[in-house]
């Protein structure tokens, strides 16, 4: 394998700065692999390296970046996995992408995703499913499945995605990489095609924890174009911790017990990781999140409700698809939306519209918002006794393509361990904890709002102890590149 591809992004950046690697050569090595992608991870790949000076002295040193399709990128297709935005080239760039470009990470390509980020398997993309590089008959997870598969297969050194109910952490887990969902408000949402505005957050998908910290450091910050964004209270540091002495880990019964349907192989890896954490000096004790079992229900009311409002903008007037409305304006709206949206998006729009409709608002949306308050309270109480809450990221490893497409509810259950955190606005990270039957398992740590530095430190210490080897997936990407 090309030795450039084996470097982590942080290591590649360091070598560029030391003038040991030509950033143009680095870009082209990844560009060639991304262009030969046979996982369907990319929906667009840069035709050439960006013109002009290479930002060799910039913090991110010209290490190319894969970007989930729903981030608007000026002049570059941004279709959010939807037919309704086919060919859409936005007139502006999302703040997070612009921040990363300014820090020296040029755009390598746009990655495939579930349509409007609605899905846990990437099978809801209008541009076809993404394949998991560990086993091409299986899903990469979703909705940031293209970003996760691209990083795992070494088609990109690192990537960004978005997480609403687990859309960064779950695909990271299923593809054997690191995924971080930051505190709500840490990263600007300006230019992210919206799914559920009170939950959506951008975050990194990377080969290791150090890369995640480096990328996140240049994503966070207040943006005057997003009034919900906040100044991060401290600089994001490169994690150095090698042990977990004094760290108290809480294991919530509600998410890790029988109710979550955790597979035996996932449970085994989870318990082995807890033992490792204890070996590194952490204490591990059961804790309670009494309302966590209801998080999924609250999530599947709040997110569709917000989506039904956000997706009202796709009406065939300002951008994207337009179908003929032979019967006038309203008919044009309905025809455009009916042909442009896929089945899952229609399902969620319907669910959300119903939950907000007259006579049902209090019973559904209002109740869900109260459950959200209780979930946030549960976390606050737990964090009085514990530094982090830990769970398996996904109850299952990567499942076969098509295995769950006929049962929306079964698909939703995949998010059981990842939805409580965005409802509470808190950060969480997934790191690979090992393999179960040859497929990666993810270990999730969640901390209080703005605890990213401590979270990254703990994840770093665990990552070192676990010593996960992601190279099999990159070799799979290599065979793809050779065609």
């Amino acid at each position: 394998m090309n030795e450039l591809i084996e470097l982590t992004a942080a290591a590649a950046a360091q070598r560029v700065r030391a003038r040991e690697i030509d950033p143009a050569e680095l870009f082209e090595a990844y560009r060639a692999r991304a262009a030969a992608d046979d996982l369907n991870a990319f929906t667009w790949v840069a035709p050439r390296a960006p013109a002009g000076e290479y930002p060799g002295d910039a913090p991110l040193a010209g290490v190319p970046l894969a970007v989930k399709d729903l981030f608007c990128t000026e002049g570059v297709p941004s279709q959010a996995g939807s037919r309704i935005l086919e060919g859409y080239r936005p007139p502006y760039t999302a703040t997070v992408v612009a921040n990363l470009q300014r820090a020296g990470a040029p755009l390598l390509g746009k990655t495939n995703q579930d349509e409007f980020a609605m899905g846990s398997s990437n099978e809801n993309s209008a541009y076809g499913p993404v394949l998991n590089p560990w086993d091409r008959a299986r899903v990469p997870g979703g909705s940031s499945g293209g970003s996760a598969a691209a990083v795992a297969a070494g088609l990109a050194p690192w990537a960004i995605g978005t997480d609403t109910g687990g859309s960064i952490r779950q695909p990271a887990a299923l593809c054997g990489i690191v995924g971080l969902k930051p505190t709500y408000g840490a990263c600007s949402r300006f230019g992210m095609i919206a799914f559920a505005s009170s939950l959506d957050q951008a975050g990194p998908l990377t080969r290791d924890v150090t890369d995640a910290a480096l990328l996140l450091a240049h994503m966070v910050g207040r943006d005057r174009r997003d009034s919900t964004s906040l100044e991060f209270p401290e600089a994001i540091r490169v994690p150095r911790a090698e042990d977990l002495s004094g760290i108290r880990l809480g294991v919530p019964e509600e998410l890790t017990g029988a109710g979550g349907g955790v597979e035996p192989g996932v449970r085994e890896s989870f318990e082995a990781t807890l033992a490792r954490a204890e070996g590194l000096g952490a204490s591990v004790e059961p804790c309670r999140l009494p309302h966590a079992p209801h998080a999924l229900s609250a999530y599947y009311l709040i997110a569709p409700a917000e989506a039904s409002a956000n997706l009202a903008r796709f009406d065939g007037v300002r951008y994207g698809l337009r179908e003929d409305g032979e019967a006038g304006l309203v008919s044009m709206y309905s025809q455009t939306r009916s042909h442009g949206f896929g089945a899952e998006v229609k399902r969620r729009i319907m669910l959300g519209t119903y939950a907000l409709s007259s006579g049902y608002y209090d019973a559904y949306y209002g109740t869900a918002q109260k459950v959200r308050t209780k979930i946030a309270e549960d976390f606050r109480t737990a964090f009085e006794r514990f530094d982090f809450i830990v769970t398996p990221t996904s109850p299952w490893t990567a499942f076969a393509l098509g295995a769950k497409t006929d049962d929306p509810l079964a698909m939703y259950l995949n998010d059981f361990c990842t939805v409580p955190m965005p409802l509470a606005g808190i950060p969480a990270i997934s790191i690979p904890s090992g393999l179960s039957d040859g497929l990666p398992v993810g270990f999730q740590l969640a901390g209080p709002a703005f605890s990213e530095n401590r979270l990254l430190d703990a994840a770093h210490a665990l990552e070192r102890a676990i010593g996960f080897d992601g190279s099999p997936a990159r070799r799979s990407g290599e065979s793809a590149a050779r065609g």
């Binding site: 859409y88 080239r89 007139p91 505190t183 709500y184 408000g185 009170s198 005057r224 009034s227 919900t228 906040l230 309302h291 209801h294 229900s297 609250a298 599947y300 009311l301 039904s308 009406d315 065939g316 007037v317 300002r318 951008y319 994207g320 698809l321 337009r322 409305g325 032979e326 019967a327 006038g328 304006l329 309203v330 008919s331 309905s334 939306r337 949206f341 089945a343 229609k346 399902r347 729009i349 319907m350 669910l351 519209t353 119903y354 409709s357 019973a363 209002g366 109740t367 918002q369 109260k370 459950v371 959200r372 308050t373 209780k374 946030a376 929306p408 509810l409 939703y412 509470a424 606005g425």
Partner: protein, 96 residues
């Protein structure tokens, strides 16, 4: 449980036209999902305030400084039916 009439009503609100097959499936799938979701209505939440925003921020305002915005031609470029005078063309609401 959602019946056919309710599904049609919601689809109209959402500006979606469903085929007969979609209508049948939607009624069954939404009912199945709602059945699971209904459980939260058993919780005692009488005195619980709803969460509207997870981070404690209030009244975020910015200075009202005039600045250039997107040029009209730029904003119209992705439009399906840009109109020469500088607007988005749509079919007549009165048609049909």
């Amino acid at each position: 449980m959602l019946d056919r009439a309710q599904v049609l009503h919601v689809a109209r609100l959402a500006r979606l036209e469903l085929t007969e097959v979609e209508l049948e499936r939607m009624a069954a799938e939404l009912s199945h999902v709602l059945e699971h979701i209904e459980k939260i209505r058993e919780l005692d939440l009488d005195d619980v305030p709803p969460t509207s925003h997870v981070v404690d921020v209030v009244n975020v305002l910015r200075h009202d400084d005039p600045e250039p915005s997107l040029r009209r031609e730029t904003a119209l470029r992705p439009a399906p039916e840009p109109v020469d005078a500088g607007g988005f063309g749509v079919p007549s609401p009165a048609a049909a």
